[in-house]
């Protein structure tokens, strides 16, 4: 389905990013695994991808740092000869009530989760314009649509990603670069495993499908958006949340 394509997934050493990287590889794409902190985990994702019979390598870069990102993109294009699919997945949380949130906590989250998407998108656009084709898939969050107490920084960034997705989609449509966002709800990852039993129960009560999603549920939608099957979809935000927000 994606044979011969090349992809870069930011923040793919674990969680949803890892599942996306593996899913794209299963479809035949060569996948670069970006990480910022966990080199060992990134390496094991690379090895899992290589076992699927496609090329992979890990590349360290802070997505909010333009110089590091440019270097990363260059490396991907050098190794794979093209860059067809960018998945902006890298994200962090620094949860706190608004009244207690430090300026630094706000800035860190905006930098990685929102500015990072801008920086990476800008850096791949040149290559995709030359190719006259490309797919950019931004990982937003359902809380970017609904709001969520304790996550003013995260929600602001994720809502920002949806706006950025729409504008990028409009600017690049004429060059056959399709840009969409996904908004996962509660997905079983390290981020949600940190919740207490009570928080978990409260969450499940809000989800019509009454269960957490798996990283693979998210990865399969990304695979669809990256494929020829999604040729007529751009600027959209697809909720993957068990019906939590409609």
């Amino acid at each position: 389905m994606l044979k011969g394509k090349s992809a870069l997934v930011t923040g793919s050493s674990r969680g949803i990013g890892r599942a996306i990287a593996l899913e794209l590889a299963k479809q035949g794409a060569n996948v670069a695994v970006n990480f910022s902190g966990n080199e060992e985990k990134a390496q094991s994702v690379v090895e899992e991808i290589e076992e699927l019979g496609v090329k992979s390598f890990k590349v360290k870069a802070d997505v909010s740092n333009e110089a590091e990102v440019k270097q990363m993109i260059k490396q991907v294009v050098d190794q794979f000869n093209s860059l067809d699919i960018l998945v902006n997945n890298a994200g962090i949380t620094r949860d706190n009530l608004l009244m207690r949130m430090k300026e630094e906590e706000f800035d860190q989250v905006i930098n990685t989760n929102l500015k990072g998407v801008f920086v990476c998108t800008k850096a791949v656009t040149r290559q995709m314009m030359k190719q006259k084709a490309g797919r950019i898939i931004n990982v937003s969050s359902i809380v970017g649509v609904s709001g969520n107490p304790g996550q003013a920084n995260y929600v602001a960034a994720k809502a920002g990603v949806i706006g950025l997705t729409k504008t990028t989609a409009k600017e690049l449509a004429s060059r056959n670069i399709l840009v969409n966002a996904i908004a996962p709800g509660f997905i079983s990852t390290d981020m949600t495993n940190a919740l207490t039993e009570e928080q978990r129960k409260d969450m499940l009560d809000m989800i019509p499908l009454a269960k957490l999603g798996e990283p693979e549920d998210v990865a399969k939608v990304v695979r669809f958006l990256a494929s020829e099957d999604a040729n007529y979809i751009t600027g959209q935000t697809i909720h993957i949340d068990g019906g939590m927000v409609m």
């Binding site: 040149r126 314009m129 030359k130 600017e171 004429s174 060059r175």
Partner: protein
């Protein structure tokens, strides 16, 4: 040298913007005379960077409005 740069720039413009050769003069404005939109200009600048193996900073690229602006800028660096 001057003519050489102009010819190379002209070839790229004709190819990229699909315009008639006579329209591509030093005075021609990309947007007003050659029907280019802002994204076309960004793309042209990218191609010029590749053709002449140079990097044009965003601040400089924003000043390029006419074919002559592009030719003169390239000449000033060579």
């Amino acid at each position: 040298m001057m003519a050489d740069v102009f010819d190379r720039v002209k070839t790229i413009i004709i190819d990229r913007l699909d315009v008639e050769e006579e329209k591509v003069t030093m005075e021609a404005s990309f947007k007003d005379d050659l029907d280019a939109d802002s994204l076309d200009v960004v793309e042209l600048v990218m191609e010029l960077e590749d053709e002449f193996d140079m990097e044009i900073a965003d601040e400089e690229a924003e000043k390029i409005n006419t074919v002559g602006d592009a030719v003169n800028y390239i000449n000033s660096l060579q």
